[in-house]
């Protein structure tokens, strides 16, 4: 079964399958010079707290649409780039990967930029939340107000991606 480019699920992430997914898409075969990837891992500490594990929750249908939007934005910005984004939900222990991204392109600069852009945008607009369990309690981590039409946020992501 071919790995989907975009997915959300409880299973551990397998970066190899994302890389295969962005590398074997039709006409682009053989023209790619670079594949970059990103794995986001659960860390054992956060703002001074000893973290034991995280639990991720997603509004799955909207999260997949957000990933589609991010891919569309990246393809428009970096021509010929292909992206795969898989996000894990449920309990993830320390060292486990919560998100995996792969980006393929003819040129390495575009592959790096698109990969970085994708993680920045995921953090801005994907309806995914994490609950942090630490020694002594737990807390919902709340970051940005998700607004895909926020132009300033999008420009910030582009700037960080430094294409």
């Amino acid at each position: 079964m071919r790995t989907p480019l975009l997915s959300i699920g409880h299973e551990p992430l397998a970066l190899d399958s994302l890389i295969a997914a962005v590398s074997d898409r039709g006409a682009a075969t053989g023209s790619d010079g670079a594949v970059t990837s990103f794995l986001g891992l659960v860390r054992n500490h956060n703002v001074g707290r000893a973290v034991t594990h995280l639990e991720y929750e997603a509004y799955e249908a909207l999260a997949l649409r957000s990933f589609e939007r991010i891919v569309t934005e990246a393809e428009a910005r970096w021509s010929g780039v292909r992206l795969a984004i898989h996000h894990r939900i449920g309990r993830i222990d320390i060292g486990g990967a919560s998100v995996a991204i792969a980006a393929a392109s003819a040129h390495r600069g575009d592959a790096f930029a698109a990969c970085r852009y994708a993680i920045e945008r995921i953090k801005q607009i994907a309806p995914i939340w994490k609950r942090e369990f630490f020694d002594g309690g737990d807390v919902w981590i709340e970051g940005a107000t998700a607004d895909p039409d926020d132009v300033a946020a999008r420009e910030r992501a582009e700037r960080v991606a430094c294409a």
């Binding site: 659960v42 956060n46 509004y59 919560s98 998100v99 953090k123 309806p127 939340w129 709340e142």
Partner: protein, 88 residues
């Protein structure tokens, strides 16, 4: 009109439910649903400024009119991505 209300993360915790079914008057907007919710669960009011809303699994605005059978979601600030969300 009857709508399904979806709640996530701490909003879900406050309501004690991930999904609620509520009746709303004709001409209601997402804002109408929200106003009802915060009467029912006053702790939710803290999220008025920071949350996002979705209508039928697409981001929407509070002013958006809703129809019978719609699916309305209220979303606390998001924190997807890697580990502990440290910026950069």
């Amino acid at each position: 009109m009857r709508v399904t209300v979806r709640l996530f993360a701490r909003l879900r915790d406050i309501a004690g439910a991930a999904e609620l079914v509520r009746d709303v008057p004709a001409g209601a907007t997402i804002g109408t649903v929200w106003a009802e919710l915060t009467r029912e669960f006053p702790d939710m009011a803290d999220y008025a400024k920071s949350m996002s809303v979705a209508l039928n699994a697409d981001y929407a605005r509070m002013e958006h009119a809703i129809s019978d059978g719609d699916d309305v979601a209220f979303l606390p600030p998001v924190s997807g991505g890697e580990g502990t969300g440290i910026p950069l």
